[in-house]
């Protein structure tokens, strides 16, 4: 047994020993030990908070101690989706024992619109109600229970109007939150006119609740000035700082926002964490007290937006081999009642309507439909997954039409030399990697052997049908809003040699802080234990971008590297001039906790601690800031052409499923994944992102069903009715590997690639495998219609429908 101590060298050695012991006893724990011993960038270090996670010491917002007189806030939410607020009588609420403050639209001192990019999100309803769950008022009381019970005492009168809930009908009526955008390449109409064959189809792709385990939460302290300090579970502290300042009508410098960690984000805390901070800040300023606001799960699910549901259509010209010549794709994003991030999200759906396949001469149209639901928002993949679904549906449909295996048709359509430019004008670099990756997976997973086994099984099994599918992912990396592609970092070295790094990114479990510490350790030649990261704060690194678009490590890692590199050079300059033996400036390096100069017999070393101490005494600054802006990227929205992405990340997955075609029940029997992260920054963390993303993507397409009643009230409003994957949904055989030996062709952070979002779309293979199994009911002649999520209900009804078509 080992002692739990502070993270020092002994501790890591002991952990390695323990690790070897586990490896010896059972082969199950993955091989995760760093061969270099220092756990710098490139090694499989543990999550920086792992020990705190497992002991319960990692503090989340609701765990923070607050003063005894702190106030707790509950929200009054609209019970109807559309209407006019005619009366809001809060007298009984105010009179309830323990209630200290009640605020509405009229108590907001500054801005009342907190739309993140475009206006349209009132902090409280003034008169017009736009969705069920919209915030009408807030109650602050001595406890959360008192506040929640007081909310129920309000008298609310609403002149209810019919809710618009169908995005297709809204599109037909021209009801959009933002204008329609079009991307066109070549003469797509002519391609259709001259086609051998035309194939068309449509698909409803359901939304998804984030279901971060830690719900929306913040604590706000009033400061001695006119401002506030905000502790929040939040992917975008700088935006929260801005919005809080604006609703309070105070300068930004009066607001400090701090995020230590989130209990999950997935995009749900990019814009939608701010309203709660704004409300709590108003109450904190009004009462002079610390205010805690945490949304109970059901309020959270009613009040916040989700992944956009999409209605997609395709009409494609194909040749006899099933290769796409051109055509048109239309995607309709159900944006909810306001723009939020929907412009960029529907854009990203359009950017990914090709996935890994050349569309030829094509037009892609994206509508942003307005409906009376919560404003749908960022969610891992940011529209990309919904866009990809339509072309993956088309691939399966084409395969049935031309009588080929879907994998064969997919490979024929891959981007390749001569077919290398997307419908938005970007050349697909590293396109050969896609072929290599898929061929490797095809062989490692024994796709064709299993294809035969599946067909043989199905031939003799009328009820239980097996399905198999391999689907690829090509995902563009960069914010499509160019200005967001920047990051800052702040590095301090203290006189004992310990290092503190801060940057603009936030930790939501993805291991960003671990990777950033590893980058600094590598740049300064230190053991990881020497580098510590603390909470992300707007007063340490200002004007930051959200931690989103998979960009956290790419951007902030480069900024941290910049800071460390500058400091290193300064120390080299100092050392070259300071030490009397005359150190060779040219070959200086930081390695194994030492400055090393010269080579061979002339090599001289100075321990890091001594170097730092000496530099300090000689009045050399030991602090540095870093900055990074992604080069090359641009996109001209007026013509729908450009190079919006710095690079693409690739991956592919194979799923095998068994389907009970009588009951619609199914199970995922085996999954094989090969994924491209360039040169991995941390293989253990990257594998974790790949696996977690896959399962989350699978859940989106299978069991996670959002349901609203016909009045627009969400009825799947808790984990009893909204089913994310659980332990038994993990496939019994789950082979996951990172593609090795293919560094990023662009000069990214140590040639790594972003990993947060791309693996999410690997889950599409499960849906495609379900369709494959259903298609076997017709001996693969018909491609079944299967909207998502493919719940057992949808699968059973699809089986019934396809059987009727054959009979």
């Amino acid at each position: 047994m080992r002692t739990l101590t502070k993270l020092d060298g002994d501790s890591s050695r002991a952990r390695r020993e323990l690790h070897d012991q586990i490896q010896g006893a059972g082969p199950l724990a993955r091989h995760t030990v760093d061969s270099t011993g220092q756990r710098q960038a490139g090694s499989a270090s543990f999550h920086e908070s792992a020990e705190k996670h497992v002991t319960g010491k990692a503090a989340y917002i609701d765990d923070l101690a607050v003063p005894a007189d702190a106030l707790h806030v509950a929200l009054g939410l609209s019970p109807v989706a559309h209407g006019t607020l005619t009366q809001l009588d809060l007298n009984k609420v105010k009179e309830a024992p323990g209630v200290v403050d009640v605020i509405t639209f009229h108590e907001v001192p500054g801005h009342t619109d907190i739309g993140p990019v475009f206006p349209g999100d009132p902090i409280f309803v003034d008169q017009e109600i736009s969705y069920a769950g919209q915030c009408l008022f807030a109650v602050a009381a001595t406890s959360l229970q008192v506040a929640r019970r007081a909310v129920k005492l309000a008298t609310i009168s609403i002149d209810e109007q019919p809710a618009s809930l169908d995005p297709v009908a809204a599109t037909e009526r021209g009801e959009f939150v933002r204008p329609t955008h079009v991307q066109t390449r070549g003469d797509w109409q002519q391609a259709l006119d001259q086609a051998d064959q035309i194939i068309e189809g449509e698909l409803f792709v359901g939304g998804q609740e984030h279901f971060y385990l830690e719900g929306q939460a913040c604590v706000v302290h009033p400061t001695e000035d006119e401002g506030v300090i905000v502790y929040t579970s939040n992917q975008h502290p700088s935006e929260t700082q801005k919005l809080v300042a604006e609703v309070l009508d105070i300068p930004f410098h009066a607001v400090t926002v701090e995020v230590r960690r989130m209990g999950g984000g997935f995009g749900g805390k990019e814009t939608q964490a701010s309203p709660w901070a704004c409300i709590a800040a108003i109450i904190a300023r009004r009462t002079g007290k610390t205010v805690r606001l945490r949304l109970p799960r059901s309020d959270d699910m009613h009040a916040t937006g989700k992944r956009h549901p999409f209605h997609n259509r395709y009409r494609l010209a194909i040749d006899a081999e099933g290769v796409i010549q051109g055509g048109e794709i239309t995607v309709i994003g159900d944006c909810g009642y306001s723009p939020d991030l929907s412009d960029a999200i529907v854009d990203r759906a359009m950017f990914h309507a090709d996935n890994a396949y050349s569309l030829g001469d094509a037009q892609v149209v994206g509508h942003r439909a307005k409906t009376h639901t919560a404003s749908n928002t960022a969610f891992r993949g940011f529209g990309g997954p919904q866009g990809m679904m339509i072309i993956e549906a088309a691939m399966d449909d084409i395969a049935r039409q031309v009588g080929e295996d879907p994998l064969t048709v997919r490979k024929r359509n891959f981007y390749r030399d001569g077919r290398e430019v997307t419908h938005y004008g970007q050349q697909v670099d590293q396109r050969q990697l896609l072929h290599t990756l898929v061929e490797t997976l095809e062989s490692d997973s024994e796709y064709w052997v299993r294809r035969k086994a599946v067909s043989d099984f199905n031939a003799t099994s009328p009820v239980i049908k097996r399905g198999l599918a391999l689907t690829p992912v090509k995902f563009g990396i960069s914010f499509t809003a160019q200005h967001l592609n920047q990051a800052g970092a702040l590095l301090h070295v203290y006189t004992d040699g310990s290092v503190m790094i801060n940057h603009g990114g936030t930790e939501m479990g993805q291991g960003l802080h671990t990777k950033i510490c590893q980058v600094v350790a590598r740049e300064l030649g230190l053991d990881l234990d020497k580098v510590r990261i603390t909470a992300t704060r707007t007063d340490k690194v200002p004007n930051t971008s959200p931690t989103a678009a998979s960009s956290g490590a790419d951007l902030n890692g480069m900024a941290a590297r910049d800071a460390a590199g500058k400091l290193r050079e300064r120390l080299f300059d100092f050392a070259a001039g300071h030490y009397s033996e005359g150190l060779d400036r040219e070959g200086m390096r930081l390695e194994d906790g030492m400055l090393v100069a010269g080579f061979g017999e002339s090599e001289r070393t100075i321990p890091w601690g001594e170097l730092v101490q000496t530099a300090y005494l000689n009045r050399v600054s030991l602090s540095e800031k870093g900055f990074y802006a992604t080069p090359l990227i641009h996109y001209d929205r007026s013509i729908g052409q450009g190079r919006p992405f710095y690079y693409y990340a690739f991956g592919a997955a194979v799923a095998e499923v068994s389907v009970d075609t009588l009951s619609g029940e199914y199970q995922v029997d085996r999954v094989d994944i090969l994924h491209d992260v360039g040169d991995s920054l941390n293989p253990a963390i990257d594998i974790g992102q790949v696996e977690g993303g896959f399962i989350q993507g699978m859940g989106w397409l299978t069991s996670e069903e959002l349901k609203w009643n016909d009045k627009g009230v969400l009825v799947s409003d808790g984990p009893a009715t909204y089913k994310i994957p659980t332990f038994g949904d993990l496939p019994p055989v789950f082979n996951v590997a990172l593609l090795e030996g293919h560094p990023n062709s662009m000069a990214s952070l140590y040639r790594s690639k972003a990993v947060g979002e791309p693996p999410f779309m690997l889950g599409i293979c499960v849906w495609s495998a379900l369709r494959d199994a259903l298609s076997s009911l017709t001996d693969y002649a018909i491609s079944p219609h299967l909207d998502t999520p493919a719940t057992p209900e949808r699968v059973m009804l699809a089986a019934n429908a396809i059987r009727k078509r054959v009979l």
């Binding site: 586990i22 609701d62 971060y212 385990l213 029940e665 974790g688 994957p725």
Partner: protein, 485 residues
Amino acid sequence: MATIAFLLNGTPQRCDVSPDTSILTLLREHLAQTGTKEGCASGDCGACTVAIGESTTGTQRYTSANACITPAHQLQGRHLVTVEGLSEKGHLHPAQEAMIECHGSQCGFCTPGIVMSLFTLHSDLTQRPSPLTPERLEAALGGNLCRCTGYRPIRDAALSMNAIPYQRPQWFDATLPDSEIDTQPSDSSQTVAFFAQPASLAELAQLRQSSPQARLVAGGTDLWLESTQRLAPLDQLIDVSRVAELLTIEEAQLENQTGWWIGAGVTYTQLEPLFEAHFPAFAHLLHRLGSQQIRNRGTLGGNIANASPIGDTPPVLLALGAQVELASVTGKRRLALEDFFLDYKKTALAADEVISRIFIPQLVDSSQLRVWKLSKRREDDISALLGAFSYRVEQNVLRDVRIAFGGMAATPRRALAAEAALEGSAITREAFRAAQQALEDDFQPMSDVRGSQHYRQQAAQNLIERLYLSLSATDQEVMLHAYAH
């Protein structure tokens, strides 16, 4: 207010809290122990999982529970172990070590709950060594949602933790001296708010008569949602979980039938061995009922008294011809279960009565029981519909056919027309087609969040088809065995 005396991670505690206080509230708000997290406050996510130790014959046995919906007052005399308590003097528990080793945490919010489920699995494996089958792992961890990892590293942690050396810490077997435990006042008439813990059926019946407005609580797995989700007051509670007569399972004869009297307070976990031995299909259903945390707390009596149309056990009990015994100060009466359910959430239970026992007759003369539950997710989900079928086949003719469904009507109900179509019929497609048709007379299901009316009607008919195929096409796989037997 009433005092609870219990051990928290080995240390005696005395707390005065109101009857509606959950263990989670007690920990986070009264004891400033914030390692245990709230994810949903409805017993569905497992982030608040704690272990509750009960000493039987000198050794402590720990079972997992969702702290968010477990009444704090039920801790009386028990040992509560939380994530803060696992590491002793800096030594991590193997569950914690393995989670770090396998990269089992990402955001970390579900992690304390997962660690606690692993802890109860670990102590169970230590006390009763047995192979760690996939089914056992699933049972142990199916009630802990993780949104980040996809569970693979958690599976690895579960599989590797037993290889890590472990010395049982001193607190493990600690029990609270009896002198520390106050006997609860059984006379509730003195106080407005109370949490009464009767020890005998007679006491329980007295309480029920004197305070008919008070709510009965056993596991609290459904009742507590009234507090956490609907904010209803639960200030007068009668705890049936320590009533001796309600906790027994006895083999017995009733009206020439052999079977078992099962105390209404017997938990699903406690039922498992009996069902494994005599009703494997029912046992399989239990594995899909709620999560381990719920099965450790929820009771057969609670599932019946709750009278939900989508409760999992009532359709099975209806198909088996179970009877319920109701007790009050004036005596006991017995009812066939179908006579107990009157309408949506309405039962034959009088205001002064409790369900004391349930009689389940043994399957005789080669009778068969099939239980098929349909839900969106295989584990820890509520039925969209559930069909239970009992019958025997005598020379290719169906006899003693009893079919019951949940999710198809306002109460769990028998499909009498479908039964009639099959009773005495040969196993032919025509007979089963008639039964499928008859289902339309039996039920007019509704659409809700768990399934549409059309789906329910179709799926129920398809289950009849499945029954036909399982009897006639015995060389074929006609269901997926992870779901159904």
